[in-house]
Symmetry: C2
């Protein structure tokens, strides 16, 4: 006979899962139930607050469709997405830090020659991004693939914006025999995550804003190495210390240095003023 | 500049809510975030598991409509509903223990005379339920209201079953000048909670069944007293130690004693065999 009092109920719930056939599921659910019950006890959650919680989750579910994943957004703004990312990408030997993948990646970007631009509409201020892809031991990695994406100067990714050409501001680049890469993008801008749903309401209730600091996304991979999903953030961005999804890391913030010399611009096939970023990406050998 | 490493991200999320205008929301969210992050760290949640969790919540949301509340069901089978109930109904002075309200209550049941039956279809085995409603000091409470509901012998509440008369097996009863009540119901049966959705899949994955032990629901109120939402469970029910929603409490399990005497049956206006339950409900004075 189970007596489900305040004192005994948590153990009763754990006991009910004792026969779970999958040991990992059992372990995860045991931990989840224990922490969830601890939270409820710690704040002495009222029944009205419980009902608000149920309503919030229900409305979050209603907001989801093929184009909108409000539960991922909820995971993002509570730091859950980034914490899971961090736990699953612990660093060794100074490899480049990872950050949030985000919902705006698209497969199938075109592979472009060294130094080409990913802008198809010519909007925004050009930025030349160059550097090397190296192994943690310092060896250059030839043939590494950089898959790059960013918003246009209006803060929208191309699939959010019918005005932009298909696959605008997306491209793939390969390193040369010395591990060097170079591409031209545009200086990224800060933008708001979708905040017209329950997650936006929660942010406002918490006194928080929905903005992300400006960044360029990169997914870098090479045979024999652990791939890394990362960003380059713009030093000086006003949202670096309050990224709505907690994606910032010190090591990923870089100087976007302005250049005004016409002959230098001509060398990179861009107009003045343009910006230049130099950054080396460090990959861990696989199977270590 | 926020460096959202594994070590620092939780504090960064807490800091982001420092300006929340509602202090209670801030306290609840601080505790929720802390425990949620502790859970993720404890099990070192993988990104595949995180994605499964997002999918599970999304499918739970898809299952919700006007007739089905899958998030409440999820709260029920994780013991959350009962824990919140217990915290909000701490007992004093031997008052009757509360249990889960459930989703099957309907407003507007008819008030019936002392000793009347709530069955409109004559199915099931009759049970006579009698006793007193008393204050914690032992004083009888006249005019207390008992709002009673239960399933039919097929384990379905009337709104789940088009074959049953409207408002079948629901009724309200008032105590007399000595605080006495009496009504006739049917011997309740064990039944499965709705298990054709994500919550049912989770139960199966955890090696759990979806059954609740047989019970009669009662909501008891009286002017000047704290109302109580409770059940009477049937002693001997095979699911008493494994209620899918953790609603059982020792003090609410009662003997349903079988009676076969025709003249006794005639006294209660029932047929033989019938069952009899005697139970006194104890209410706390309000504002204590």
């Amino acid at each position: 006979m189970s007596n489900n009092t305040e004192e005994q109920i948590t153990q009763n719930v754990l006991n009910s899962m004792a026969q779970a056939p999958n040991p990992r599921l059992k372990k995860v659910m045991n931990s989840l139930i224990s922490h969830l019950h601890d939270f409820i006890r710690e704040v002495e959650l009222t029944q009205e607050e419980w009902a608000l919680g149920v309503q919030f989750l229900t409305r979050t579910g209603e907001m989801c469709d093929e184009k909108r994943q409000e539960f991922i957004l909820l995971s993002d703004i509570t730091g859950v997405t980034m914490l899971v990312d961090a736990i699953n990408h612990r660093l060794t030997d100074g490899a480049t830090e990872s950050t949030i993948f985000g919902p705006f990646y698209r497969e199938g970007a075109q592979e472009l020659p060294m130094g080409a631009t990913i802008s198809k509409d010519g909007r925004g201020e050009p930025v030349v991004v160059t550097g090397q892809v190296l192994s943690t031991d310092g060896t250059p990695i030839p043939g590494a693939l950089l898959d790059v994406w960013e918003t246009d100067e209006n803060g929208l990714y191309e699939q959010q914006d019918p005005e932009q050409p298909d696959m605008n501001l997306r491209g793939k680049f390969r390193t040369d025999s010395e591990g060097r890469y170079s591409f031209v993008g545009i200086k990224p801008v800060s933008y708001a995550i979708p905040d017209d749903g329950p997650v936006g309401q929660l942010l406002r209730a918490l006194g928080r804003h929905p903005f992300r600091p400006a960044h360029i996304h990169l997914l870098i991979s090479a045979d024999g190495f652990v791939p890394v999903t990362t960003h380059l953030f713009v030093k000086g961005d006003p949202y670096l210390d309050s990224d709505a999804v907690f994606g910032t890391k010190n090591s990923l913030v870089v100087d976007f240095i302005q250049h005004d010399a016409e002959e230098e611009a001509a060398h990179y096939n861009v107009t003045v003023p343009f910006y230049k970023v130099e950054y080396d990406f460090i990959l861990n050998p696989a199977g270590k």
